[in-house]
Amino acid sequence: MALSGTRVVLRSLMARRFQTVTTTITVAIAVGLLLTILSMRDATRQTLERGAGNMHLVVSAEPSSLVSVLNSVFHAGAPSRAMTWLQVQQLQRDPRVAYALPIQQGDSFEDYPVTAVEPDFFEQFSPDAEYDPERDGEDGRWGVSSGRLIEGRFEAVLGARVAQETGLGVGDELLLTCGLAGGGFVHGGFSYKVVGVLELRDTPHDRVVFADLASGWVIHAQDKRDRQVGGKADRVTEDDLSAADRLVTGVYVRGVVREGRQASAAVAELASDLRRNPSLTVASPASEIDALFRFVSRVDRLLIAMAFVVLVSGAVSIMLALYSAGQMRRREIATFRVLGASRGRIVLWVLAEAVILGAAGAVVGVVMSVLGGWAVSVGLKAQLGLVVEPAVSPAAFGVVGIAAVVLAALAGVAPAVLAYRTAVAAHLRPLG
């Protein structure tokens, strides 16, 4: 096979394997860091926005709005305070409220959070922010991929990821554990039957077990009675429940949005009225997500700036690598010139080396960003309970990849000029 320019360039890179590998890694780290930050930022925001779905407000007794949203909507932790059933009923009676769906959290199944809901929860709440239960009815409603939704006591439906990861399905039985971390007290004696598996919606709710709310009250009332008698109390039924047993940890609220009125204005008025009750925390998931991202974006910008600095340092290392190689390769360059290579061709070879280093770094960086995204995703789940599927944005990959290659090409200019200026005769001792 004839010797081609590509082969010359690759031979040159291979001749300096160590330098080639370290330079590629430098570029790859920068590209990987940038892409990980960008993709995780977008993915986290999308995940959080999808998680809020079509609700407008979360009402709870949590100490702060952000904690309320993180716990009630994103299952980040166990709520610390409860609301009474009377407060729920007051909300449900408010004419400005389209739905007020009570939820009770704090239990888990094999480390998956359990959210206790009433059977009509799935008719009203949807991960689709655009879904309006009154307008859309069954169109776009959150359905099941198998089985059916909750209809009776001690029934549960599994989020799609729970079913995938545990292998559980319709007909299986679950025992719930008190608390979100493993090793808690098991609510023995009351098992839930899985009646359905929800459709995958790429939200934190996919990793949740939804159980019947009234059954949850019965279980917790039984535990309370057992503790009071210091042993096994009589079996509690729904009829035995007192007002103190009917507690919820939060309420998903959607305001009535009439035609010609802005949703934000109507909901703001409702939220303002609800905030007059000091025992309630009223949070707008959308606002909290915005506030969270405004806060995070400061760190985000710093990380992106750092990643750009690393990218530029990667380009500088390409320049240094090629420049020092150029110094050492002057005899080789002079030899190629003697053999008939023009200055322009030598310049192209040096620039091609720079571009290959940049492109290789970009490719390895993409792989690193996928691994980095996965690592951050695991970390977010472990630390915050947030389920974030790293979103790979082709545009981000394109822009960062092209930036890496362009910077690499620019970094190749100085070494290329050095190669261009190589005095052939002087570098071909004894011809010099």
Partner: protein, 229 residues
């Protein structure tokens, strides 16, 4: 038929402004016919290497002209001169200047890279040349070859493109007398086979016995030596 090499009133100073200083190289007239082989003698520092650089188009003469196969070399600029060099000139260096990191085969292919020879013939021609010159390990890197083998690879590279003229700069300087004789015969044989003229410069008196035509660089200089041959 145009001469392989024709030099007319050539002079070269490193500092073009120093018109009073004697030129490093001065040749009144010199001509080498197609396929002809000549030895150019001169003591160390007499400008032999500089003359070869001028003939190779690597340095610009202060005055005069160099023609290769009828083409005035220094009238060609930039890439055109580089291309012309790749097609018409082969060079053998004292230290071979083989491309390290490239195999023996690739070194010879590099000599064909800028030639007129069709690319599909490169591989076969390089392999045949190396075979004729006794290099069996064509995939070996230069550093894995003996000095003698390296020189053979360098010679193969110089004649690979079937050049009009091969320039050999002190090809025996780093060899013992026995190997020096063999090296010159090797270069002459390869040039003869390729149909190339050979201009060999050397300060080694023993090299003279291998050439029918031997010139003294000092004798080529000045008006009295114009048309010495």
């Amino acid at each position: 038929m145009a001469a392989a090499l024709r030099i007319e009133d050539l002079s070269f100073r490193y500092d073009r402004g120093a018109v009073d200083a004697p030129p490093v190289v001065r040749v009144g007239h010199f001509e080498l016919a197609q396929g002809e082989m000549a030895l150019l003698r001169g003591h160390s520092g007499s400008g032999k290497t500089t003359l070869l650089s001028l003939v190779a188009g690597l340095l610009e003469p202060t005055l005069g002209r160099v023609e290769i196969a009828g083409q005035e070399l220094h009238a060609l600029r930039g890439g055109a001169r580089d291309r012309f060099r790749g097609r018409h000139l082969g060079l053998v260096f004292q230290t071979f200047n083989l491309l390290h990191g490239f195999s023996a085969m690739e070194n010879v292919l590099a000599g064909l890279m800028f030639s007129d020879i069709p690319r599909k013939e490169h591989d076969e021609r390089a392999r045949a040349l190396l075979g004729r010159l006794g290099i069996e390990r064509v995939d070996a890197r230069p550093e894995a070859l003996s000095v003698g083998q390296q020189q053979r690879v360098a010679v193969a590279r110089a004649v690979a493109a079937r050049p009009t003229l091969v320039l050999a700069d002190e090809p025996t300087a780093s060899l013992d007398p026995e190997n020096a004789d063999a090296a010159i015969e090797l270069i002459k044989g390869a040039c003869a086979e390729a149909g190339a003229a050979l201009l060999c410069v050397s300060h080694d008196p023993a090299a003279s016995s291998h050439f029918e035509r031997v010139e003294d660089l000092a004798a080529l200089a000045g008006p009295s030596t114009v048309g010495v041959h």
